[in-house]
């Protein structure tokens, strides 16, 4: 009985985590203009207390040349086909050779910048339990908050999933970030399994 319950919890948790990671993947910055819609709102920087009246386009602090240091952008990443399967959207971002190769020249270590805070909303992903949509807040390259802004609630079974699995997703996203790891060792994943893996999220984030 106890075992059965545990098993079910694992299944439910996995479903939510998978959706979360798929969303993380599809949040990858992209240059495809059809995927990135225009900014819907400009929100004040999480670092600045005064904020809401601050003109986001003006470099607020004189010492910093980059507007992105002081202003935080809230961006909605649109999705061309909201009904497409999670694996479909994941494979879009985990595409082959040339796109994933990145040579990162020196990070801007010369400017002791205040980390930019931005909020990114993922596309709605249809899961077998219902639509899931996640919004994450990044300070610099670190995820500081993850919120499910849409989760299944129509069926009683779905409610059960929402109440247990979605909080779990938030914790796990944060736990992986705070562990500040470079890579993940685990039982061998397939190419398909990779798309839902923490390693895939690390590769995509490039942090």
């Amino acid at each position: 009985m106890k075992k059965k319950h545990t098993l079910r919890r694992i299944v439910l948790t996995s479903a939510a985590t998978v959706s979360g990671l798929v969303l993380l993947l599809s949040l990858k910055p992209t240059t495809d203009p059809s995927v990135v819609r225009a900014d819907v709102s400009i929100t004040p920087s999480g670092q600045t207390a005064s904020a809401s009246s601050a003109p986001p386009s003006a470099p607020a602090s004189a010492s910093s040349g980059s507007p992105s240091v002081s202003a935080s952008r809230s961006r909605t990443v649109g999705h061309k086909s909201p009904s497409s399967s999670p694996s479909g959207s994941a494979s879009h971002s985990a595409s082959p050779v040339p796109r994933t190769t990145s040579s990162v020249p020196s990070a801007p270590t010369t400017t002791p910048a205040v980390p930019t805070t931005r909020t990114v909303t993922g596309p709605t992903v249809q899961t077998k339990y219902g639509p899931v949509q996640v919004r994450i807040t990044l300070t610099g390259s670190k995820i500081t908050k993850a919120t499910a802004i849409q989760s299944p609630d129509s069926l009683s079974r779905s409610q059960e999933i929402s109440s247990t699995a979605v909080p779990q997703l938030n914790q796990e996203t944060l736990a992986a970030q705070s562990a500040n790891i470079d890579s993940v060792s685990g039982a061998t994943y397939t190419s398909a399994g990779y798309k839902q893996s923490l390693q895939s999220a690390l590769d995509t984030a490039g942090v």
Partner: protein, 262 residues
Amino acid sequence: MSEAARVRHVEHAMGTVFSFDVRGFSDASRVQAALEAAVASLHHADEIFSTYRPDSQISRLARGDMALQECHPDVRDVLGLCEDAERRSGGWFSARYEGGRGNVLEPTGLVKGWAVERAARMLASAPAEAVCVNGGGDVQLLGGPWRIGISDPLRQGGLAAVVEVGAEACETAVATSGPAERGCHIVDPHTGEPPVTDVASVTVICPTLTAADAWATAAYAMGDRARAWLEETPGAEGFAVTSDGGTWHTSGFGRYVTAVRA
């Protein structure tokens, strides 16, 4: 030399995904060339060793359509390493087992680790100071510092422990075996059946991934005997998560670990 210089790459091969992370180099073009060569070496290994491809040398060798002397030198090297691992694991690692199709030649338990280790060395000789190559969850590190999460087999996306190596580290490999993500692909070489065990996953750390991958496979097949065996295997440390959520580790594992799940 730019401290922040870094090259990352993701490559699909051998039915899984390889993630490269290279730091600490001054000549990016040489690292890029080494990366291309390393990637090519993975695909070459896949062509030769894939048991899913009927025309691979390993498949033809198993059918008797090809003699060992006709095979690429890599085949002899790998089969030699397999024999070595079989001997040193008391038969718990084996490239041959009695399967449903008769005597199956299956060096897969060692090939991936071997291929990853070789790819990592190609990158280090670019030269680069710190190299991390992850082949489907098995990691070869050359140099450092690196922090490697060990996946929690009971909570997808969660970590059971974090392994840390410093900048002074030379060679460190982290391999994990378990049924978690691919269904159980490990069999007891004595029975041809999945092992009877309460170990959900077992992780082995030793200098080279060729050994770590084989030891992790053998340790998972051993089940409860793995802990004592890893304890007495020179140069290897082990960590396991059991199906009830508990963990165990060998006495020397602690020097790598910064955080273990409660």
